[in-house]
């Protein structure tokens, strides 16, 4: 069995004392920052990235995976306890999770989120391991035309799932693509849009954009909201473990959530958000058992299902990244950036050239999930304490971590001036109701898209029809067009708007 061989290779790599410690530290730090209100996983990962610079690549990736899961789990914790979704995919968790917390059942809600996520993570890891190898085979058949079309599909997928205006989301992607082109053009050596600033010839750092837009932009926005609007449930987390009754209800919800999440996560465009929404909708449609609390008033299924769905989804969203090298969402885009810093170019070649890294990473994802359970459930009290720290002490610390993180990327104060500019831009985006996640995705994909477009057209001698005459490429483009048509259909369009307004 290939799968078992591969996984045992992976676990062999991941189960060294050193790597376990990195996974542990990553989870701990990720949760620590992720639990802070108003800090989503993107900002968390960007902020903690410098902590991995000094490590060897395998250890760094393992720690990053830990940070990623920690950040996600931290986000759910804030969603349940503070009524603040740290990221879009925990938006639905807020609905029932917060109601449970208000009724003094924050403990079971947090446990349901944690246990559900862990189960979903295990399944997701298995799927990832099983699908990675055959998909990599497919990836080797991809030429530049296919890659270009795949990126179009991914970007369209990302906007379809973004909340708010479709048109604005597409515009944000294009803006991101353009920002990604700043710097030296690899083919001609011309420094584009660099205004003769030497630092800009290397391009704008993705950390600068992530921190400025996601970190500073959101801090400024949070500060403009008066403090008393926040209500934190802290003293009421008494017993953590769900009752037998809770378990009976949770289990089918977790199973359903995991299935939906695993399927939707593979879709380019970041299925985690869609998965959480879909899982919640399905739970809402199933009949209430006698004596069960209605949805929207603190039903445990309303926490367990979306949380397992989004975790399964975020797990399987590693598939397009690891096999094709295409990030399906903003968080994965950040992971690409992180990998390139460690000199790993994500894509099909990683699996063959660096099998211990590839399978080690997959194994460490599972370990990351396990760490979360054994680390976070007992330590939940500590995280809750963190939430009682007044925001006026927290935000200077967050600003500081952002600044230190930005500086340490290149040890250059130029990045600090850039992050200031992007902080202002990020706040402007929030005020204008333009979602920044597609921008980051476009930013990472910009140079890749240009390169593949160039190569495809060079091979076809400038004939654009190459994108539709090659069957794989045509199929991908058709899928993208279909996605667009579906969301633009009036019936679906209204539903989509409803779904995003509901929160």
């Amino acid at each position: 069995m290939d799968l078992i061989n591969n996984l045992s290779l992976g676990f062999g790599v991941a189960f060294t004392a050193q790597n376990l410690i990195y996974a542990f530290v990553g989870c701990l730090l990720g949760t620590l920052i992720g639990v802070l209100p108003g800090i989503g996983p993107v900002a968390t990962i960007a902020m903690l990235l410098p902590a991995t610079y000094a490590l060897p690549p395998v250890a760094a990736l393992i720690m990053l995976a830990g940070i990623y899961y920690g950040a996600q789990y931290g986000g759910s914790t804030t969603a349940i306890l503070v009524n603040l979704p740290g990221e879009s995919s925990s938006v639905v968790t807020v609905i029932d999770g917060y109601q449970m917390a208000r009724k003094g059942r924050a403990g079971p809600a947090l446990a349901a989120a944690g246990l559900g996520s862990f189960f979903a993570g295990c399944v997701g890891t298995l799927i990832l391991a099983a699908f990675a190898a055959p998909l990599t085979e497919v990836a080797f058949k991809f030429g530049p035309a296919e890659y270009f079309s795949l990126m179009i599909l991914g970007l369209i997928g990302a906007v379809v799932l973004a909340s708010g205006s479709l048109l604005k989301a597409i515009a944000m992607i294009v803006l991101g693509l353009l920002l990604g082109l700043v710097g030296t053009d690899v083919n001609s050596g011309v420094a584009r849009f660099s205004f003769d600033i030497p630092e800009l010839t290397d391009g704008i750092g993705f950390i600068v954009i992530a921190m400025g837009v996601f970190g500073y932009g959101e801090i400024i926005q949070n500060l403009s909201i008066k403090e008393e609007h926040r209500e934190v449930f802290t003293g009421k987390v008494t017993h953590l473990y769900p009752s037998a009754e809770d378990f009976k209800r949770m289990v089918p919800a977790v199973l359903r959530g995991t299935t939906i999440g695993s399927l939707l996560g593979i879709l380019p465009g970041g299925g985690a958000l869609l998965a959480a929404f879909a899982a919640y909708t399905i739970e809402k449609k199933t009949k209430l058992k006698p004596g069960e609390v209605p949805f929207g008033q603190g039903n445990i299924r309303g926490v367990a299902a979306p949380e397992s769905a989004n975790n399964a989804g975020s797990q399987t969203s590693f598939i397009p990244l690891l096999t094709l090298g295409i990030p399906p969402n903003a968080v994965m885009a950040l992971m690409v950036g992180a990998m390139t810093i460690h000199n790993i170019q994500p894509g099909p070649q990683v699996m063959t050239s660096n099998p211990e890294l590839f399978w080690g990473l997959i194994a460490s994802m599972w370990i990351g999930n396990l760490m979360l359970i054994i680390l976070n459930l007992p330590m939940i009290g500590l995280w809750i304490k963190l939430l009682t720290v007044p925001y006026r002490w927290l935000f200077p610390a967050i600003v500081l971590f952002c600044a230190i993180g930005v500086y340490s990327t290149n040890n250059n104060t130029f990045d600090i001036w850039m992050v200031a500019i992007f902080g202002v831009i990020g706040y402007l985006f929030i005020k204008l109701g333009a979602e920044p996640a597609p921008l980051l995705l476009g930013f990472i994909l910009g140079p890749m898209m240009e390169e593949n477009l160039r190569r495809a057209l060079l091979l076809s001698r400038g004939d654009w029809s190459v994108f539709v005459t090659r069957p794989l490429s045509a199929g991908l483009l058709a899928a993208a067009a279909l996605l667009l048509v579906i969301v633009l259909m009036p019936a679906i369009k209204n539903k989509r708007e409803e779904a995003f307004v509901e929160d």
Binding site: L167, V174, L175, P396, A397, V399, S408, W417, R454
Partner: protein, 162 residues
């Protein structure tokens, strides 16, 4: 003509302006043709696309009714200014500004500077509290980033360490 959605109108304006600027900038590089793309080709294409998208967003903002005009609302100038200023101050204190002959003061001074200025963005400000916070952050950052992670930072002012 009345603006029916302020947010959309101004985001459309922003997209169009930025798109046009990129497109215009791209024409200063070799554009080339499809088979042999110059460095200007892709940005020119995207810039035009962005400008068009922006125009559509603006047009829709003028035509489609929204509830209450979709106002942008007041800008939070105070947090905006102090958060950004604290960040800039951090950079100046940490690395200095050779062009203005400002020496590098190092990480610890930069942390104090950042914490004090950033705290001004909040609703309440008490210097004593802020100084305690800055001290905690300094010690914590020193241990975490310098001792543990061994990141390369100038920690103390250059005129002390030389």
């Amino acid at each position: 003509m009345k603006i029916k959605s302020q947010k959309d109108f101004f985001s459309g304006l922003m997209f169009s302006a930025v798109g046009a600027a990129f497109a215009l900038g791209a024409t200063t590089y070799t554009v080339g043709n499809g088979a042999r793309m110059g460095p200007g080709y892709f940005p020119l294409m995207l810039g035009i696309l962005l400008a068009i998208l922006g125009a559509i967003v603006m047009f829709k903002a003028l035509v489609v009714e929204t509830d209450g005009g979709d106002k942008i609302g007041k800008f939070a100038w105070k947090p905006l200014f102090f958060v950004i200023a604290s960040n800039v101050l951090f950079g100046i204190l940490l690395g200095g500004l050779p062009s203005l002959k400002i020496p590098a003061m190092g990480l610890i001074a930069a942390i104090y500077g950042l914490t004090v200025v950033a705290s001004l963005a909040g609703e309440r400000f008490s210097l004593k509290e802020v100084l305690i916070l800055a001290t905690i952050l300094s010690i914590g950052s020193y241990l975490a980033f310098i001792v543990l992670l061994k990141l390369q930072f100038p920690v103390w002012p250059t005129f002390i360490t030389g």
